[in-house]
């Protein structure tokens, strides 16, 4: 048996055939699609549902859909949802209990449904975000069975970035617009004189098998180098960057910074940033009883460190001030995440910047904290020089 090639080129029909093959395998195919003035993630029945001809213009606190003349499907940037909406759904029943006629309780654990997902158009930052959530929910000390079951066997088709958004900063978080690991297939969309096509790379055996069922053509060196060039160019066009310092130490040294008061005055504590963040995983549980008191259920739902009840211990919330809650979010993302899970909690997707109603920008906050710390250290040095 000859091994199927590791690359291919698909045209629009090929992309549609790819969706067809995945659906024929019984998978729920989820991909970007236009709804309510944004590119959202939803189940798609065919590649026609992809946002062909739509781009996005984003800024801190602002998102607009803009038509594109080139008909590209993956030239938009990250929208209001991430794949966690599917792998780690916002609300899920954990168990239910009933009081039986003899007065005893019967408790039934929820068997998580196992939809077999195929995600089409996973950005490289989101591949990294899924890997971050895997370390938290699939392999860590606090495994979430629902997450594990949905994640196992999910088929990931990456879409490399050729049009980074103005709020993207993956490169400064150690990533970049190229898909490096964790995908089954990776697409790079090209629209040029040769036409509208998708360069495909195989990333797993499952990917190879799926691709073998899709009518495509071999990728010539021209297509491959055009794809590389487009993604390399995107590296240079990041909209934003984190300050090039050790963010972990910066956060640790900034716990008493004045900047937290400044950002707390602007922050609505609305929680949007944590909801849109593809790595935030926090949940709370909700105990439901019915009127008869004979039936109870426990549900898990998304929570956020911006909720006052999140840090409620007897008597009141530990993080009562907006300052302490914003600080929890930023220090967790950029610093304490390393202590817990061995990596940064931020992949630089820019969602929290775009979808913060008041446009609070974590790269700007980190830079301001860095400036404040540098100024403090400078003053300390000067003092020491004066009085040795």
């Amino acid at each position: 048996m000859t091994a199927a090639p590791a690359t291919a080129v698909l045209d629009r029909d090929g992309l549609d055939a790819l969706v067809g093959v995945l659906r024929a395998q019984g998978r729920t195919v989820v991909g970007p699609t236009v709804r309510d003035g944004a590119v959202v993630l939803a189940e798609i029945a065919s590649a026609d549902a992809l946002p062909f001809g739509w781009g996005t213009e984003v800024e801190a606190g602002r998102y607009r859909l803009v038509p594109r003349t080139d008909g590209a499907a993956f030239a938009h940037t990250t929208g209001p949802q991430s794949w966690k909406a599917f792998l780690h759904p916002e609300r899920e029943r954990l168990w239910s209990a009933d009081r039986r006629a003899d007065g005893r309780l019967s408790v039934a654990a929820e068997r998580p449904q196992r939809p077999s997902y195929a995600f089409l158009g996973v950005r490289p930052c989101d591949l990294r975000a899924i890997a971050v959530q895997d370390r938290v929910l699939a392999t860590g000390r606090h495994r979430d069975r629902g997450y594990q079951e949905r994640r196992t066997g999910a088929f990931l088709i990456a879409a490399e970035c050729t049009e980074p958004g103005a709020t993207c900063f993956c490169v400064s978080m150690g990533g970049g617009p190229a898909a490096e690991a964790g995908y089954d297939l990776a697409l790079t969309e090209l629209v040029d004189e040769t036409g509208h096509r998708f360069f495909v790379r195989v990333g797993s055996d499952a990917g190879r098998e799926v691709l073998s069922g899709v009518p495509g053509r071999p990728a010539g060196p021209g297509t491959e180098s055009a794809a590389r060039a487009a993604v390399d160019a995107a590296r240079e066009r990041m909209g934003r960057a984190m300050p090039p310092v050790d963010l972990r130490t910066l956060m640790g040294d900034s716990l008493e910074a004045d900047r937290w008061d400044d950002v707390a005055a602007r922050c609505l504590t609305c929680g949007n940033c944590t909801m849109v963040c593809p790595t935030c995983f926090c949940t709370t549980t909700e105990e439901v009883t019915d009127l008869t008191g004979d039936h109870a259920e426990r549900w898990q739902r998304w929570d956020s460190c911006f909720d006052l009840d999140f840090s409620y211990l007897h008597g009141g919330p530990v993080r009562a001030s907006a300052r302490s809650r914003y600080r929890q979010w930023l220090t967790h993302k950029l610093s304490t995440w390393y202590d817990q899970f061995g990596s940064s909690g931020c992949v630089g997707c820019g969602r929290c910047v775009t979808w913060c109603p008041v446009g609070i920008d974590i790269t700007e906050e980190a830079a301001a904290l860095h400036d404040e710390l540098a100024a403090r250290l400078r003053r300390q040095d000067e003092r020491e020089e004066r009085e040795p």
Binding site: L65, P80, E90, L268, T269, C270, V276, L291, D309, V358
Partner: protein, 257 residues
């Protein structure tokens, strides 16, 4: 078996919409009627049993000296008192009078001003008596009302979050109307509870559940301005069913900074 707990529903200055929510619980109404004894609920039945009552739901705000007296009587008759709706929890739309001269209204509007016996302000029930739980909304949410009653029956705390409307809005996957469309929205400063209905239909939240526990009004105002509301329009936007509560929340944050 011990006797079923008694439920009473009372009304002060209000539109009746909130108590109607109880009758709207169609699927649960029979179970409810089997779990509690409805002792006083004029909207449903004119048969009234005397107090004391185990659980009283009070709708409406205090706008007359008679209301103030009545709410004290209700309190005295109630083991557990829950206020329901924006009127009872924040003074309602009628709290607009708090920003105006009621004496002048009385003189201009009524042919016989001396027949009008009213207070200068519309205030929440909690300004007069101790309230055990306040359920927000204009009108209240059916699911939350059932949760409060169920929690009371089970002797537990109701699960009624006081975070912003943005929580349920994002959780249900709605595209943010402010960020994506530049639509003025009070969601970031309003308490959740409605399920973020308005943004799901493409319109901004108008705050009918009142300010969220940590509402930062001063931070939202520049955004409302950017999205086309001038000073007067901003004021009107904030002065609806929870006018007094938003004014208080705004003033207290402005004082802090």
């Amino acid at each position: 078996m011990s006797e079923a707990p008694t439920l009473a529903v009372f009304k002060l200055a209000s539109c009746d919409g909130c108590q109607l929510t109880l009758l709207d619980c169609e699927d649960e109404l029979l179970t409810l009627a089997g779990t509690v004894r409805i002792a006083h609920f004029l909207e449903a039945s004119s048969a009234v049993a005397p107090g004391p009552y185990d659980l009283s739901l009070v709708e409406g705000s205090v706008t007359t000296p008679a209301d103030a007296e009545r709410v004290r009587e209700i309190r005295a008759q109630s083991r557990f008192l829950v206020t329901i709706g924006a009127c009872a929890t924040a003074g309602g739309i009628q709290a607009l009078r708090n920003f105006a001269d009621v004496e002048e209204f009385r003189r201009t509007v009524y042919a016989r001003p001396d027949h009008i016996d009213t207070l200068a302000t519309s205030t929440p029930v909690s300004a007069h008596v101790t309230v055990d739980f306040e359920l927000r909304g204009c009108p209240i949410d059916r699911g939350q009302l059932l949760e409060v009653i169920t929690a009371f029956l089970a002797g537990r705390k109701p699960d009624v979050p006081d975070h912003s409307v943005c929580f349920p809005c994002k959780r249900r996957g709605t595209v943010c109307v402010t960020v994506a469309h530049g639509t003025p929205c009070l969601g970031p400063v309003t308490q959740a509870g409605c399920g973020a209905v308005c943004p799901a239909y493409g319109r901004g939240c108008y705050g009918c559940f009142g300010p969220s526990r940590s509402a930062n009004l001063p931070a939202l105002i520049p955004l409302l301005r950017r999205d086309g509301l001038d000073e007067r329009a901003t004021e009107r936007f904030l002065r609806t069913f929870n006018a007094a509560a938003f004014a208080t929340a705004r003033a207290s944050r402005e004082e802090e900074t």
